[in-house]
Amino acid sequence: MAGCDANNLGGNSSAGFSRVAKWTALGATLGAIAAALNLSGPFGWAAFFSILAGAIAGAGVGLFVGSMIDWFGRLHEQSPRTITMCGDAKCVGRNAFGMQPFTDGDWTMNLGTLILCSPADLPVTAPGALTQVDEVRMRAAPGSGLSVAFKSFAEDGCHDDNSKCITDILHCEISARQGSFSVVGGAVGSVAGAALGIAAGIAACIALGIFTFGIGAALCLLLVAVLAAVGAWAGGAVGDAVGAFIGWVADELSDFDKLGKTIEAHSACALFITGRWVTDISHQHNEIHDIEAVQIGKCLPSGPPLQTRSNVAVVGIGRQPNDNGPPLLR
């Protein structure tokens, strides 16, 4: 089951990958410099491969550590922190189980037919915003580095062909622990793996008696750099996988009895979604992340629910129970 993608009108919806790539390049450069600085005597053919292996080792550490930095720094909180949006689900799904940076297991939803339900006094201030819903979608959070956040739409291909941007949505997510655990596991694993690789290389040099001047030192450095590279990448991958697995188990344990509910996309149910309003600089759009509460306000037998807002209002003031529509899938 795939999660929901948000297609932005403008901006760079893959800005997160660019930032992680910069961390990777930085790591590679530092690794190469470290290897070069440690070379002494006649470099010979070993020099090139030592620098290359050092760069690969640094890139591995940079990738995994950079992924963690990006992961925990990508969401910039708005003021007010918490909002409640009303709407209906245009897309729902859970991102596949797996490792960062490929997938994260998050619960995702694209909310459409948007109404800002709370706070009712949110001022409209963002450049180009005409309504409070525009404000929610377009105001750039402090520290995001953006002047305006880009609106998201449900249609695939909207980013490249603006005529396809038809259905306004606000992307909403609940973070799964597997995403956070996997980036931490990857960072810890890559650093530990690189360190172990260096230690193993030095130990091997000593054991083999090749830690001598000249070509011996160059060969030794090559061995250390290669093992550091293997350690960084293998440690990062293993830490990433182990972290994802532990996070997945932790997610499942937290909801072991499965007392939650299933939401369908395009069902005629009005939803109240409450959560943290943020700018996600990895996608350069605004979203609710994490969703802290979902309430199925009103389900109707058919048709778009928010065209009959009076029936949603009846639930909103407590005169009918929420989740009172047709039975939902389990």
């Binding site: 089951m1 918490t82 409640t84 009303c86 729902v92 799904g93 859970r94 619960w107 995702t108 939803m109 109404i115 339900c117 709370s118 009712a120 006094d121 949110l122 001022p123 409209v124 201030t125 963002a126 180009g128 915003a129 404000e135 105001r139 609940i174 188990v249 499942e252 344990l253 937290s254 909801d255 072991f256 499965k258 939650g260 509910k261 299933t262 939401i263 369908e264 109240f272 409450t274 969703i291 509460a293 309430q295 199925i296 306000g297 009959t308 807002r309 009076s310 029936n311 949603v312 209002a313 009846v314 909103g316 003031i317 407590g318 005169r319 009918q320 129970p321 929420n322 009172n324 389990r330």
Partner: protein, 308 residues
């Protein structure tokens, strides 16, 4: 936890084995799921929802509102009172009905903050009356919490504001309600001033810029109608009936109906003018609602009487 150390150890062992068993089930069993749908865990989707009649939620949902809140009653000696006309230094009873839309979760320990603000629309200064606690059962249960309030010794006109909070609230959008009412005896032209407060005194909201294209921050627009809320529950609660718009029943106007606040202007009084029919008859209600910069400020409900 039992006092017997052996029993405590046994319970810990059992808890650990139970945990291991759960982990095993998670790893080896296929979990629920499906296409085009997503299962949301209980912690986000199954929560209590304490609520009251919230004009601000209803306005966001584009529904007509009354400021005579059916869930907030102020009375003296059992007689209902209008908040505009309260006597100075006098004790009144306030009763608040708290609802819960959840069929599954009780809204126990709901905090009910009762405050007074100045009569009108958009007053910013809140004055504490009482913090109460409501324990609301599952829908259709309601809880009524009460308090007494002695009005200030200095003359004034008041609005009662009620704000609910619950740490596990499933929908915080329906927690704020006002009771802001006045009764007015009809004349050929019944006139009453209504104070509109400037929400952004001194400075426009953050990042107000030339490129902003929405309504100006200082533009105040005033709407009025004669909508009446007829309370109903469950199957009897039909949204199309409960929220049927009702235009002003008698010739009425607000002057001015639209204006701009100067940056340092704290408030401005507008006038509701109702041309009531001559002779006795039923009273009519006029709900006056203000928006500043396209955003709800608040409002009042004025009941115009026509004698016996």
């Amino acid at each position: 936890m039992p006092n017997d150390p052996q029993m405590r150890t046994g319970l810990r062992c059992w808890a650990f084995l139970d945990w291991l068993c759960r982990v095993w089930i998670i790893i080896t069993h296929k979990r629920k799921g499906g296409d085009d749908c997503v299962y949301f865990p209980e912690r986000v989707i199954n929560r209590p929802d304490p609520c009251i009649y919230s004009q601000f939620l209803l306005m966001q949902l584009k529904q007509p509102v009354t400021w005579e809140n059916p869930d907030v009653i102020i009375s003296k000696g059992g007689a209902k009172q209008y908040t505009y006309d309260l006597t100075v230094d006098t004790q009144y009873d306030i009763a608040i009905t708290v609802h819960n839309t959840s069929l599954e979760k009780e809204a126990l320990g709901t905090k009910v903050a009762v405050r007074w603000i100045e009569f009108g629309a958009g007053a910013l200064i809140r004055h504490h009356i009482e913090d109460l606690v409501a324990n609301v059962g599952r829908y259709p249960a309601t809880a009524v919490v009460t308090t007494t309030w002695r009005t200030p010794a200095t003359p004034g006109h008041y609005c009662i504001e009620v704000q609910l909070t619950h740490p596990n609230d499933g929908n915080p959008a329906n927690n704020l309600g006002w009771n802001n009412t006045q009764v007015l005896a009809a004349h050929s032209e019944a006139t009453t001033p209504i104070r509109i407060f400037n929400r952004h005194v001194g400075a426009p909201p953050r990042e107000e810029q030339a490129v902003h294209r929405g309504p100006p921050w200082n533009l105040v627009e005033i709407e009025f109608d004669s909508y009446e809320f007829h309370d109903a529950y469950g199957d009897h609660a039909n949204g199309d009936v409960m929220f049927a718009p009702r235009p002003p029943t008698w010739p009425a106007r607000v002057e001015p109906r639209m204006f701009h606040f100067a940056p340092d202007q704290t408030y401005r009084d507008v006038e509701l003018i109702v041309d009531a029919p001559a002779g006795p008859g039923h009273p009519e209600k006029f709900n006056v609602t203000a928006l500043q910069g396209g955003v709800p400020l608040g409002g009042v409900t004025v009941t115009v009487t026509r004698g016996a």
